[in-house]
Symmetry: C2
Subunit: 223 residues, 2 copies
């Protein structure tokens, strides 16, 4: 999978009005990729798309989650965990035959910070795979700081993206997608069954951020 094949695809970011989705959409648009932002309310997606277009000079469109999913070749899921299963169930038809990149972290929060939630299917990514039986599900972009993605003064984001999946062509494509963000490197991180700990590691990075006043990320060494 080469960068030129990414250039022929359209990427939808569902939940693209939240901090993480907006940050990813912004970086992909800035890299010259075709991006459509999805949200529950189309008007909200259109507004964020206009803001990103203004900021990056790239043309980004906005639509309802269903329309965005329909329009795209590759669909990133960046919605809150609470609405994850419902949304995927509703969009199962539109997502069929496509690569779906799950970026959702099932976390809880209390006065001690963040902690991982138990997920019946094992992880958000595996839940997506259980629901979307006609899609190719990949997990990625769990640990990337939304603050850094959205900061126009941050030219390079110092982190690897662990890409999880059972389909080599799909994980290769998503690694190449991660590589389009300056500073970021896509690294194969294992099969879907090992997605939980990568999602949950975000709770640890939140603890790190609190202790060290940082926007932490993860690099895999010797690779």
């Amino acid at each position: 999978m080469t960068d030129s094949s990414l250039a022929e695809m359209t990427f939808a970011v569902l939940g693209g009005t939240g901090p993480q989705g907006r940050g990813l959409a912004r970086r992909f648009a800035a890299a010259g990729l075709s991006v459509v932002i999805g949200s529950r309310v189309a008007k909200n997606a259109e507004q964020v798309a206009a803001e990103i277009s203004e900021a990056t000079g790239a043309e980004v469109s906005g639509a309802s989650n269903a329309q965005a999913a329909k329009a795209a070749d590759v669909v990133l899921i960046v919605v809150p965990w609470e609405g994850h299963a419902d949304l995927l169930g509703q969009l199962k038809g539109q997502l069929g035959g496509k690569v779906v990149v799950d970026c959702v972290n099932p976390l809880g929060f209390d006065r001690h910070g963040a902690f991982a939630l138990r997920v019946e299917e094992g992880s958000a990514t595996e839940q997506a795979a259980v629901i979307l039986t006609e899609s190719t599900v990949v997990g990625a972009f769990h640990n990337v700081s939304a603050a850094l993605l959205n900061d126009p003064d941050v030219n390079s984001v110092d982190t690897d993206v662990l890409v999880l999946g059972d389909d080599r062509a799909a994980t290769d494509m998503v690694q190449a997608l991660a590589d389009t963000v300056p500073g970021v490197r896509g690294v194969y991180g294992g099969r879907l069954r090992n997605a939980h700990q990568v999602e949950a590691l975000t709770a640890n990075l939140i603890s790190v951020n609190r202790r060290y006043k940082a926007h932490s990320g993860v690099r895999v060494t010797d690779v």
Copy 2:
């Protein structure tokens, strides 16, 4: 916690005849720390201790797990997951009042590689905390390559060690302990309840090692 306070302590490595325990013991001894290796069979521990003494020029002793635990101020648990709960239950008395550093990864293996096992208490580290009610339990050293630790030609191990715990003095001490290994940096990684994903991440690193022919580790960025 300063290096000089580490120098006044004795560190036991239970399960110190396995690759991970042996590698850690070797590096701690090379850093000038007082190390005693524990094993189920005292004679095996003595033999590995003699090998490490020979290799590093440091004096390392070997003993049964119980004797090693008794002799030490800080006890690292580096036994196979299968014997984890039993060993801790047997040594609860000897481990009371001490800092216990759990390094155990509950993993399964099949033809697709490694995967994380579900642990009733949440993680090996939390299981230790449930059993060892009179000890201060910390989780650490889960993701460090045993191959690199044991390789005499590797002068610097390129990885961070995420240190998990609810007691600041204990996690600070274990971070300083990690720092004694050249190349390694101890980083606070969150509370005990977030230990599972750090243990389980070892399965992902095993996948990385297989895909990239590497001895991978993890660095936390922006810290």
